[in-house]
Amino acid sequence: MRAGSQERLQGVAGGGPQARPVRGGSRRRGALALLLLAAAALSGCGGQQSILRSDSHQTHVISVLWWWMLAAAGVVFAGAVVLLVLAYVRRGRAGLPFVGERESLAGAMVIVFGIAVPLIVLLVLFGASDIYAVRFSEAPPAGSTSMSVEVKGHQWWWEIHYPGTAAVSANEIHIPTGTRVRLYATTADVIHSLWVPSLARKIDMIPGRTNAILLEAPSPGSYLGQCSEFCGLQHSYMRFTVIAEPRASFEAWLADMERPAAAPASGEQREGQQLFMSKGCGGCHRLAGTSAEGTVGPDLTHLATRSTLAALTIPDTPSELAAWIENPQAIKPGNHMPDLGLSGAQAKKVAAFLGEMR
């Protein structure tokens, strides 16, 4: 296996978060005393798909925004609760504490807390988020990116192309580190939403439209993503990884992807190939350079370089692959790959064949 694929697999099989540089002092700043509980719970986790991991500049800005909003909300909430507690404590007596029973003062309080204070808070928030921070999450300005990648959502997997190359992949978006990448999001069927919480905002994939966001990862690693707009039965298992690697290994990977499918080596693999061609797999899947040219399912030309199968439903191991081919519906109920009636032995042979697709 390629370097790093072990690490990638952990996204599926249950690995913990990898050590990754934490930016700024955002976590400390946010942990204001008032919301200790919530803040502690949040900053203590930082699971693979947390939006607070701040793995890119964009998500860093958003998480700083979040911590400030949380702090402000905490103050507002605490203020209101203090007033309610005060009301409870003084339940025997009428009138405002300290100032007495003046109706005009009660009215003034409503105006101050109900209009003046919120107006200020909201103006600041509007400036910070919807004028300033929004610039980091909007589609990157033309010419500000040096490469692009096209991702097309399918019920329930992701198709990935690199414009200008013949490379095709599925469910794994490779990008070079430290590079501003423009990601074009489209869909083949219904609305999906591409979301890698630690790297970028989400973007909906809508029929008839091409949306774009900025994807950028300063440090190498694999970043979990998941479909975030309900798209039918297997919305839950429409997941993917973004793999950021140094420029050189990215280029090597891309060149690999442009090569046609490997020829079968062993007898078992050859039998597998025959089964693949005769059982109709090629109607839906492509093996570059062969007669298999389907586009309904993921391109399998380099299946063996991927660390998972069926959009991160199962790990890409020989036994899991055989199990998938034998009965995909048992593994991912409702997915669009039918049960093609291969026996266990036949599936194993096909798996052996596909296992060499590097």
Partner: protein, 642 residues
């Protein structure tokens, strides 16, 4: 009450009793046009749907209690969460607020004897019931809507959802919308035309302002949903292309239309709750509302501004930044009227002498949860943050705090508060408080961790997740909270059900309430008020003199209006007496119309369009028969009416 009356007063009351007598038994309920009975039927029906929606919620929570559970298949999960959303919004909160509370209380609060259009009121109920049954027929036959409560196309198109699931959604919501529109119109006209003499607009209870605002929103927001679903069915049934990008349509047209309805809808949900809160608070803090006019204005403003924020549900669809910024700004502006009301309540409680009885506790719970939910709403009006958490559990947390904590808590508080009025008996205070605390803690434990789950990247509407995601503990906690919550709610039901039979007698005005409904006996008689009350302030029950005069007028038989089902009509602004309105007697037609419309929609969903058209003709004929001249009607004199 009747026993303490002097002989002449009793004679007058007995006269009214005879005039307003309705049939007994089931047939009496089926043919009733009495707003109180209709209100109660709304209450029972929406409670039943609440139980159904609650069971669906518990199924969701049980499925998600741990990773990779198999209680529900993906197909079933999709139907269950969709039905949960639709049920709770369209079959629980809307009918419970406008239908049950609005129907029962608005006429009482304004001193009227019924709604402006009593038979249309009954039709609304039967149509609402029909639409609910219609949707549950879908669930029972395994064809329930399954594309989420906002039913985005193209997932909901014929191509990707070929069954009748979505047709049940489309027709069901049009069906349901007829009932809501009719109820809303009824509430508006009732409030405009039937207020007791002297209840000028500035003396109208804030409760009525809230319901007025909600009703106006309903009338003007629902057409957008109706239109969206008409387009959807045209696309699905006849091959039109409104939403089909391949033919020049646009899936975002659906989203725009849906949310043009959908956002006003969420304020339609919360406004009646605001109204309930503004009724309960003055009673239990023994003080008038602070800043009454501003609160009234804020209620109307929320409804109005609610029409201008819809695209904040679409921040992730790739709209131009400028458009999103505009909608973020309007979403922030709408916080102000909410904040005004919130601090008016808090200040009223703070400056009064609060008595922390069960109803007030629910309102305090509401305030706390509404702040949490409102503040999370503000955070998602920050575009970049929403572009992260949109369609994640953070949103689920936001709207359950504002909907469950914000709208359902006041409804439950209101159930306790008006229970003595409706039944004539007191509930059990200790059990009431226990049910509150269970529900309060349950709500917090259920929905608070959802914020964190969303921030941890958990998308909504997933039927399961993996252990590696790190969401297991949070979800287990949420599920445990949901069971606790269910226990609290069950206790509410048990408390009220037992008290119905065992509760101490309540008397007309157990709380010293400020609004008119407390002036009549508990439960109120069919004619509501023996003499039509007159009003000279916004707190009529605290005007002892006025009420004393009502009693004297009853002795004299003044203002009885007993020549039939009569109630005064007054002018819109100043509530000057303008006419005496004759209300229709009970009738089997409303239920019949409901049944015919139900049959029509069944024919539609089975795509028998000709039969549906025939049934439509039948409904038209019924409506002509409906307008048979009231008995004993005489032609207006020459020179005539104006």
């Amino acid at each position: 009450m009747a026993s303490t009356l002097s002989p002449p007063a009793r004679a007058h009351v007995e006269l009214l009793e005879r005039v307003w007598e309705e049939r007994k038994g089931v047939f009496g309920w089926v043919t009733t046009v009495d707003h109180k009975r209709i209100g109660l039927m709304y209450l029972f029906a929406s409670m039943a749907f609440f139980a159904a929606g609650g069971v669906e919620a518990l199924l969701i929570r049980t499925q998600l209690i741990g990773p990779q559970q198999h209680l529900l298949s993906p197909e079933t999960y999709d139907e269950i969460f969709t039905m949960h959303g639709i049920t709770m919004i369209f079959l629980v909160v809307i009918p419970m607020t406008t239908g049950a509370f609005g129907n029962y209380l608005v006429p009482l609060m304004i001193g009227a004897r019924d709604m402006a259009f009593p038979r249309m009121n009954a039709v609304s109920f039967w149509i609402f019931l029909g639409s609910g049954v219609f949707l549950y027929v879908a669930l029972a036959t395994g064809q329930a809507p399954n594309a989420g409560w906002f039913d985005y196309v193209p997932l909901a198109s014929k191509q990707f959802d070929p069954g009748t699931n979505i047709d049940f959604y489309g027709y069901g919501l049009i069906f349901n919308g007829i009932a809501s529109t009719a109820t809303a119109i009824n509430i508006i006209v009732t409030i405009f035309k039937l207020r007791a003499p002297g209840m000028s607009l500035n003396r109208m209870p804030l409760f009525c302002y809230a319901f007025l605002a909600a009703a106006f929103s309903l009338v003007f927001a629902l057409p957008a949903l109706t239109l969206a679903t008409i387009f959807l069915e045209l696309d699905r049934q006849l091959g039109f292309h409104f939403y089909d990008a391949g033919f020049g349509g646009d899936p975002l047209l659906w989203q725009n239309l849906f949310w043009i309805f959908g956002h006003p809808e969420v304020y339609i949900i919360i406004l009646p709750a605001f109204g309930i809160a503004t009724s309960i608070i003055p009673t239990f803090v023994h003080r008038r509302m602070v800043m009454f006019p501003m609160v009234a204005l804020a209620e109307l403003l929320v409804a109005f501004l609610g029409f201008g924020v819809w695209a904040h549900h679409m921040f992730a669809v790739g709209l131009p930044t400028l458009v999103t910024v505009y909608f973020a700004a309007t979403s922030l502006i709408i916080v102000i009227p909410s904040a005004i009301q919130l601090f008016a309540w808090i200040t009223t409680i703070l400056t009064g002498k609060p008595e922390f009885t069960t109803p007030l506790l629910w309102i305090i719970g509401f305030i706390v949860f509404f702040i949490i939910g409102g503040l999370s709403g503000v955070t998602v009006a920050a575009i970049p943050f929403d572009q992260q958490v949109n369609a994640s559990y953070y949103i689920v947390a936001h709207f359950h705090f504002v909907i469950f904590g914000g709208a359902v808590f006041p409804i439950l508080g209101g159930l306790y508060y008006w229970f003595p009025k409706v039944t004539g008996r007191m509930y059990h205070e200790g059990v009431g408080k226990l049910s509150f605390w269970l529900s309060f803690i349950g709500t917090l434990v259920t929905f608070f961790p959802m914020h964190i789950a969303g921030i941890e990247g958990m998308p909504r509407r997933i039927y399961t997740y993996t252990a590696a995601s790190g969401w297991t503990t949070l979800n287990a906690l949420e599920s445990a909270g949901a069971y606790l919550l269910a226990a609290g709610l069950l206790l509410v039901i048990v408390n009220l059900a037992v008290s119905l039979f065992k509760g101490a007698p309540a008397g007309a005005d157990p709380w010293g309430g400020d609004t008119l409904e407390w002036a009549t006996s508990s439960p109120p008689p069919a004619y509501n008020y023996a003499v039509i009350p007159t009003v000279s302030s916004a707190y009529p029950m605290w005007d002892e003199e006025d009420r004393e005069r009502d009693r004297r007028r009853l002795e004299r038989g003044q203002g009885l209006l007993a020549r039939g089902h009569e109630t005064p009509g007054t002018t819109v602004q100043d509530a000057l007496l303008d006419e005496v309105l004759a209300m229709p007697p009970s009738s089997p037609l409303p239920a019949l119309v409901g049944a015919v419309v139900f049959a029509g929609f069944i024919a539609l969903v089975l795509a028998h369009f000709l039969i549906a058209a025939g049934i439509g003709g039948l409904a038209a004929a019924l409506l002509v028969a409906w307008h048979v001249p009231p008995r004993g009607e005489k032609p207006a004199a020459e020179g005539g009416a104006r």
